[in-house]
């Protein structure tokens, strides 16, 4: 069993990254995630990762590009406005197929907004905030434990698919402390024959680019990427269910709201409402098939998507419930975290 600590989500993320063999961190401070870089700065003397407080998020994401291209196991963390600034870079990293880990510890938007927790960046994360057709695996932890676990997993998946992975969390999970069992350090042995490390005599030079000036080449590149995304859709769907076996009403929720909804399920069940919770762990690839199955179950009466936004994931739920059952929505905005009671009364209004 791994070491157990009481940690903030942001710290757990940092510590897990170290244990996963972090080689480079490039980031810019922003609330509510600055603890990650602060934690790494404190631990730095003990390890030999590179740590740069970049001059901006734009610089950070492009340092990622260089360092990741050079074969490093690398990461950045930020929060909403900062991640928006990185969107050009994200699009480049996906197209150039550079493995790396992003974490967006979301706060309330749009604009400068509030530093309180939000889930308003779901679309940006899952539909691509940058230009062009692309996807990233998006992991949505809902506990400090998962902040650590998903960090570990994220690095693995990034290398497995040679692609960026995004951890979409929020300010509350980043700031809160829970017990966390830290994964044991894992020696990291990179195998990246494509990396730009200097061309030995016996191989062709390695080039990392996202430029395909001829349309035919660009189309081929896109087809290659789409095939990779399909593979991810096939292999990497992750979700969790709670009391859905006999549920008549299914709450869909991710991240923090999935925990609050879990409580709502229990409370609701006590008063005789047969609630169940469906929690996507990967927001992309979205657990389409399972939602379809649930929607086809006779006893299921409706779905309700509970989010801290205006109903973004609801669209993905609808695309898979696809008319079989009603899909409702309940959400709060801008840093306000819904309570189990609010969720229940929203549900009751549809009974």
């Amino acid at each position: 069993m791994g070491e157990i600590r009481l940690m903030k989500g942001n710290e757990a993320l940092g510590e897990a990254a170290i244990r996963a063999g972090l080689q480079g961190y490039f980031g810019y401070p922003i609330t509510p995630q600055s603890e990650v870089i602060e934690y790494l700065a404190k631990e730095e003397p003990k390890y030999d990762y590179v740590l740069i407080q970049a001059e901006s998020e734009v610089a950070a994401v492009n340092m990622m590009y260089g360092a990741g291209g050079a074969g490093g196991r690398i990461m950045t963390t930020t929060s909403s406005p900062g991640f928006s600034l990185m969107q050009e870079g994200v699009s480049y990293l996906v197209c150039t197929e550079i493995p790396c880990l992003f974490a967006n510890i979301v706060r309330g938007g749009p604009g400068l907004g509030t530093i309180q927790a939000s889930q308003g960046d779901y679309f940006q994360a899952t539909k691509g905030g940058g230009h062009g057709d692309y996807n990233m695996i998006v992991l949505a932890p809902n506990s400090v434990q998962e902040m650590a676990d998903h960090t570990f997993l994220g690095f693995e998946l990034a290398d497995k698919y040679r692609s960026p992975v995004l951890l979409l969390s929020d300010g509350s999970i980043g700031q809160m402390m829970e017990k966390v069992e830290l994964p044991d350090p894992k020696p990291y042995k990179p195998n990246k024959p494509w990396a730009t490390v200097g061309k030995p005599k016996n191989r062709e030079r390695n080039i990392l680019t996202s430029l395909y000036i001829l349309s035919d080449d660009m189309e081929k590149k896109n087809i290659h990427l789409q095939a990779k995304f399909e593979k991810m859709e096939k292999n990497e769907v992750r979700f969790e269910e709670y009391r859905t076996e006999d549920a008549e009403i299914i709450i869909t929720a991710f991240g923090l709201t999935s925990r609050i909804s879990k409580k709502a399920v229990d409370v609701g069940r006590e008063s005789g409402i047969k609630l169940g919770l469906f929690r996507p762990i990967t927001l992309w690839p979205f657990p389409k098939k399972r939602i379809e199955e649930l929607a086809s179950k006779k006893e299921v009466k409706f779905f309700i998507s509970v989010e801290m936004n205006a109903g973004q994931m609801k669209e993905d739920v609808m695309l898979n419930v696809y008319g079989k059952k009603p899909v409702y929505f309940f959400g709060r905005f801008g840093g306000i975290i819904p309570t189990p009671e609010e969720i229940l009364s929203a549900i009751k209004s549809h009974l």
Binding site: L6, T31, M177, R259, K263, D266
Partner: protein
């Protein structure tokens, strides 16, 4: 059993660390815990608080709006949280700072002059929060005193370990303020 608690006061009164120490102690006893702070610049000079949940079961929601226990150390916090203590719950309030006493009658109220006691009896206002924590420990046997002491040791940097006895004193003083649990 699930205990949902809020600790609130001015930044600097030690509410966040009070919560942390309690959470740590509970974790060391094998319990499930969550600690959720308010954060951000609006807290600069303003109020700070943290929600601490302790349970034998995994904790579903770390955010709650009604508490089994409220611990409030200044007037604004009392105003904000008095109404959110569950019926039959406990509200501990620091009576040196807080002039307008709580008014609810359906909860158990405990007024502690912890600032005054810390200043006068212990000559260090900083351990005020430990007096309050001591009282809470006596009222609700959430964790053992020993666990709290372990937690304190873990939380304080080495160079402050000479303060451990003072903190223990403060806890004892706090426990002594409560007659029967």
């Amino acid at each position: 059993m699930l205990q949902e608690m809020i600790f609130a006061g001015f930044g600097g009164q030690g509410v966040l660390s009070m919560g942390t120490i309690l959470a740590y102690a509970a974790m060391k006893e094998g319990k499930e815990v969550s600690w959720m702070p308010s954060y951000g610049p609006e807290m600069r000079g303003g109020t700070a608080n943290c929600i601490v949940n302790i349970s034998d079961q995994p904790i579903s929601s770390p955010v709650v709006n009604e508490y089994d226990v409220g611990v409030v150390l200044n007037q604004p916090s009392l105003k904000k949280f008095e109404s959110r203590v569950k019926k039959g719950g406990i509200l501990i309030w620091e009576s040196t700072n807080i002039k307008d006493a709580p008014k609810r009658t359906d909860i158990q109220l405990y007024a502690l002059p912890a600032v005054e006691l810390a200043t006068n009896k212990l000559k260090n206002v900083k351990v005020m929060n430990m007096i309050v924590l001591g009282a809470l420990l006596k009222l609700k046997q959430i964790v053992k005193k020993e666990s709290v002491l372990t937690a304190l040791k873990a939380a304080l940097p080495e160079r402050h370990h000479h303060l451990l006895p003072l903190n223990e004193k403060a806890i004892n003083l706090g426990m002594g303020l409560i007659k029967s649990p």
